[in-house]
């Protein structure tokens, strides 16, 4: 892949980190949600990344230099299946017959740290794209 395809790689990184950030934000917003449309407390979402070949939108099918590993994509968004956290709150409207309320099973601090990581990696991908863009511009400048 040429330097132009490296732009696509950076873009794929930005996309993937954004999906991850969205899932983490949703987790954080719902860390105390006891009632969802499907019934039961909110279940945490996790994003799984995998490497994916990425070409430039301008590349032909005959681009022989495309390597099998290049960009990244979201392979799956996995919903947590572990048991919810039960808290004893008899007065709560969602309490069950024994007085326990099912809360989402998650650690907000962990998701907060992950969210910061996602934001930082998003910016790293932006920096990569800018560096590649500058190199391409330098090549153009060779045309006096």
């Amino acid at each position: 892949m040429s330097l132009f395809a490296a732009l696509s790689v950076g873009a794929s990184g930005m996309s993937a980190q954004r999906v991850r950030a969205e899932a983490l934000t949703e987790n954080l917003a719902n860390s105390e949600t006891t009632r969802t449309p499907d019934g039961g407390p909110y279940r945490r979402k996790d994003v799984v990344f995998q490497s994916a070949p990425v070409g430039s939108p301008f590349s032909s099918v005959f681009d022989t230099q495309m390597q099998s590993v290049g960009g990244v994509q979201v392979a799956d968004v996995v919903t947590d299946t572990s048991a919810p956290e039960m808290r004893y709150m008899p007065g709560h409207p969602d309490a069950n017959s024994e007085g326990y309320v099912a809360y989402p099973h998650m650690n907000p601090a962990e998701d907060m740290v992950d969210l910061m990581g996602a934001a930082r990696n998003y910016e790293a991908n932006v920096a990569a794209m800018n560096a590649v863009k500058d190199m391409i511009q330098k090549s153009i400048d060779l045309l006096h």
């Binding site: 301008f58 590349s59 032909s60 022989t64 045309l143």
Partner: protein, 100 residues
């Protein structure tokens, strides 16, 4: 009083060209060689540049700097060819101006 008049000898054209040309070739084929070599360069660098541009436009993973450098080389080869050709034309004109 009569002076011995020798026959008119032919002019050695290459000797006349030599000081003007500055190429330092000892025969008239020297100019031809220089011109042929320049033409070959123009052709090869020109073909390489065209092929590189085609590969770039066709998205076959050709690096932009490769294409740019190939076109620059073709341009320089052509400039060089023009200079050799101009020198030849200039030398020819000098010879034509000479009173025989």
């Amino acid at each position: 009083m009569s002076f011995p008049v020798s026959g008119i000898s032919g002019i050695n054209i290459t000797d006349a060209i030599r000081p003007i040309a500055g190429v330092g070739q000892s025969s008239s084929s020297g100019f031809q060689d220089a011109l042929n070599s320049a033409i070959q360069k123009v052709e090869s660098t020109g073909n390489e540049a065209s092929a590189s541009v085609e590969r770039f436009l066709g998205g076959e993973g050709e690096e932009l700097h490769t294409t740019v450098l190939a076109t620059q080389r073709a341009e320089m080869s052509f400039d060089m060819f023009q200079q050799v050709r101009n020198k030849m034309v200039g030398a020819y004109q000098e010879i034509m101006k000479m009173q025989i």
